[in-house]
Point group: none
Chain length 240, copies 2
DNA sequence: CTTGTAAATGAAGCATATTCATATATACTG
DNA sequence: CAGTATATATGAATATGCTTCATTTACAAG
């Protein structure tokens, strides 16, 4: 129970433990971020966190669990900021643009960690059973909601499944982020994202111009079909 | 020099060496493919190839070099088949469709290997200096050429850089391939690729060409429909 | 002050990639 | 064909790095 606040630095025992846990996570983030998961040594993480090697295992079951902790913090922030960012945006297009900008910015920043981070998860066919998958799932839920909303508003085409849109959106952005990071000329982030959105939005949005993508052919077919159907329904009650 | 062909199994010394090298690569492909790079044990590869553990290191500097050998074979085939496949295709749109189908099919098939395969390369910021990057570069050159050609023909929009198109194309397809592989319901590959192309082509192709987004399919349907309607109208002579 | 418990330590254990001293097979030479 | 140099092969030894564990230290309660 709480007796009194000791004037010394660390307060209660529990608090000191939490602090240490944070220190280890912070150290891990730094070391993972430097050269990726594989090259990161537990020894270095321990040293940075100011603990013995064995202590790390008092807090995390193994190296993967440590990565998961780092990834969880990252995804929590990412998801939160994504959800927060679209709140004030009124239309589907600007929401998607925001999500794209936000994603690329964050991913490009934490690239070394991320590229390897999800690897232990993504590698296997059982990816779906991993916690890493769940983190990602929660994150992309923000995107999914924007799309569903967009469909209700009539902004988004309905002939392509959500999952396909999601894959193209995030797959494309991830590659884009990587390219951005590698480029020696450090091409402008905003400009690149704009360009990506030019392709993506045209492909996903049902815009007035795109309604007529096929030159009205589909409409003509549908019209004609309706007429025939009506006629068949009214006349022949005999079908096979 | 070639003396005479010995009737025994292995011919010249050089040939036996090459055979063994191939055996090791084949074993490595199998083992990498099973559970990815990390979980693959050199010991198992050696056993499968019928050599001692140390022998592997006579042929390949280390595990990474072995992966590179496997990846090189994969990419060589991939690149060759891609280049071959588009040769007979006349228009930009069908070429892109072919490249997409081809890519997804191959990537989905060799997923466990690939997902980890490029990881040791992709992880670092020096990716561009790796041989893995070069393999990829050569491969996507096929795509780049299709796009450049498409631009000359006026099929492809010019307001978005090639690199952006490339990233979205292959990034999207990679994610799509992964999803396809994970799906328990094993969604139809062709259908999924079609859907992806619906987004990608609208985004990349120039409008006028997009008037005919479905390659004239709608027109064909309409024609057929008209004929059927006419026939129905004339035979069952009951009109309203 | 004593003692039980939580927390921490770093040396030992273990799994694997890689190296190396040694052995074997092959080709060449006289 | 024997002798020898060279290429090839071996598997035990080494190195590295994650993980465990017996021991120690710090803390809180009585």
């Amino acid at each position: 129970m709480n007796k009194a606040v000791r004037p010394s630095r660390p307060q209660t025992r529990r608090q000191r433990v939490e602090e240490k846990e944070q220190a280890i996570i912070a150290a891990a983030r730094a070391v993972f971020g430097k050269n990726g998961f594989d090259k990161a040594k537990i020894a270095e993480i321990a040293k940075r966190a100011g603990v013995a090697e064995g202590t790390v295992y008092l807090y995390f079951e193994n190296k993967n669990a440590l990565l998961l902790a780092v990834a969880t913090e990252f995804y929590d922030r990412l998801t939160h900021d994504a959800a927060e960012g679209i709140k004030s945006l009124p239309d589907t297009k600007s929401r998607l643009a925001f999500l794209a900008r936000h994603h690329v910015e964050r991913v490009a920043a934490e690239w070394p960690m991320l590229s390897t981070a999800m690897m232990p998860f993504k590698a296997s066919d059982e990816y779906r059973q991993t916690e890493g998958y769940q983190l990602n799932r929660t994150y992309v839920e923000v995107f999914d909601q924007v799309i569903r909303d967009g469909i209700n508003r009539g902004d988004i085409r309905t002939d392509v499944p959500l999952s396909v849109m999601r894959d193209i959106f995030y797959g494309g952005l991830e590659y884009g982020a990587r390219t951005l990071r590698m480029r020696p000329d450090r091409a402008d982030l905003d400009e690149t994202v704009d360009q990506m959105m030019q392709i993506l939005s045209v492909g996903m949005l049902v815009k007035p111009a795109a309604v007529d993508t096929d030159g009205g052919a589909a409409d003509a077919v549908l019209d004609r079909l309706e007429k025939i159907a009506t006629r068949l329904e009214t006349t022949a009650a005999t079908t096979d």
